[in-house]
Each structure stands twice: as C-alpha cells, then as structure tokens.
C-alpha cells in the first residue's frame, strides 16, 4: 500500500543548530514530493516540492530537501534553525493514480526550538 512515513513525531533543537526531518515513502514509481509547514492556527504552507531533475531542492525560509531514489526518502534540512521555525512539518507524496493526483500525507513532525 502507498504510504508516507515520518518516523520522528517530535524533534527538539536549539536555535542555530542544524535540522533534518525524515520522510520515507512507499510507492513503486517516483511520486511527486512535497514538504509543508503548519504553524499554530495557520493553514499549511508549501516549503518546497520535487517533480524531477536535480535531486536537491531549495525552498522558502532557507529549507532544502534531497530526494534519494535508492532510499525512497525525501528528507528536509535547514543548516541553522530560527525560533520562528517551531511548527509542524508534513511530508506529502502525490502518486499518479487513475488519472488523478491525491496527496498522501505523513503524520507530521512537530519541531520545538530552544532559545
């Protein structure tokens, strides 16, 4: 079955430290891949997406993600975390199924940033 796994439910980092959020998917072909961020009381905002081409994708707010086909992973990274990055992060995949694209979301990783 198609699935998206975010193995870390909670992550705590200190401000200025580097960050990596993990995402693995289970799907035969390479789907389209996305990372969204949800701040408290806010809707989801797209950070970045991967459709094809360069496997290192740059996004907004200094985030980047790397697609690794061999590992079926699409991990999100940031070299130096800011307190404002505290939020919940969702990985999503869009496998092409029956002529439509329906996002499948992971369960999210909640990021806490220590001052």
């Amino acid at each position: 079955a198609q699935s998206v796994t975010q193995p870390d439910i909670h992550i705590t980092v200190s401000e200025g430290a580097s960050l990596e959020l993990r995402c693995n998917y289970s799907y035969g072909a390479t789907p389209y891949l996305f990372w969204y961020v949800q701040s408290p009381g806010q809707g989801l905002q797209l950070l970045l997406k991967y459709f094809s081409g360069d496997t290192l994708v740059q996004g907004i707010k200094g985030f980047e993600a790397e697609f690794k086909r061999s590992q079926s992973s699409f991990n999100l990274r940031k070299p130096s975390v800011h307190w404002s990055d505290a939020a919940e992060y969702f990985c999503a995949v869009a496998p092409f199924t029956s002529g439509t694209y329906k996002y499948i979301f992971g369960t999210g990783t909640r990021l806490k940033v220590l001052a």
């Binding site: 975010q6 989801l44 905002q45 797209l46 999503a92 439509t100 694209y101 329906k102 979301f105 992971g106």
Partner: protein, 114 residues
C-alpha cells in the same frame, strides 16, 4: 481571491446535528480538495473536484459525509448526524489543475462535536 478561505473557522455542534462547512478556492483554480486532520494526525484525503468531472469521493469515511461544488467556485462539505469521532479540523485546498499542481490550503474549520 488572495487565498483559500473557509468558514466558519470554528464550529461546535451537538451529536446528531448536521453541519455545513464552506470553502472558497483561489479564483481560477479548477481543482479543489477536502481533507480531515484529526488531533495529532496527518491529513486524510476526503474528496477531490476537478472542473466538471465527476468528483473522486473515495476518501469519504461514511455516507454521512457529502460535498458539492458549483462549477469552479465554492464548495460545501456536509456532515449529517454528526458523531463525536467527526471532531477534527477540516481543511480545503485548491490548485490550478489536478495534475499534481501545488495545493494551496485554507486555514481550516475546527469542528467539535459534543
């Protein structure tokens, strides 16, 4: 419009009552999606509209759930005879088309069934 809007932002209802949730997509977006987000969980796909095509209702959890969309504009999600397990945030998203275009999300409607 500037973004996807949803109303109401919060809804408290009693078990057994019907509720209607509204979504206004971004103007010009032909695709519209509804998701449910239960506390501490990811988003669960409910239904997808694309232009004048028949909607993909494969994610609706029961026949108490239905949704309509008039053309490429407003959509309403209706939950009949609400149950406590329907308590969740209901998110709407729209995209230019259904071809894996970026989905833009509204702020959601937080539904609490007492």
């Amino acid at each position: 419009g500037a973004g996807v809007s949803q109303s109401p932002s919060n809804k408290v209802t009693e078990k057994g009552k019907d509720v209607e949730l509204r979504c206004d997509p971004i103007s010009g977006h032909t695709a519209l999606y509804w998701y449910r987000q239960r506390l501490g969980q990811g988003l669960e796909f409910l239904i997808y509209f694309q232009g004048n095509s028949a909607p993909d209702k494969s994610g609706l959890p029961s026949d108490r759930f239905s949704a309509e969309r008039t053309g490429e504009s407003v959509s309403t999600l209706t939950i009949q005879r609400t149950q406590q397990e329907d308590s969740a945030v209901y998110l709407c998203a729209s995209s230019l088309s259904g071809n894996a275009e970026t989905q833009y999300f509204g702020p959601g409607t937080r539904l609490l069934v007492l």
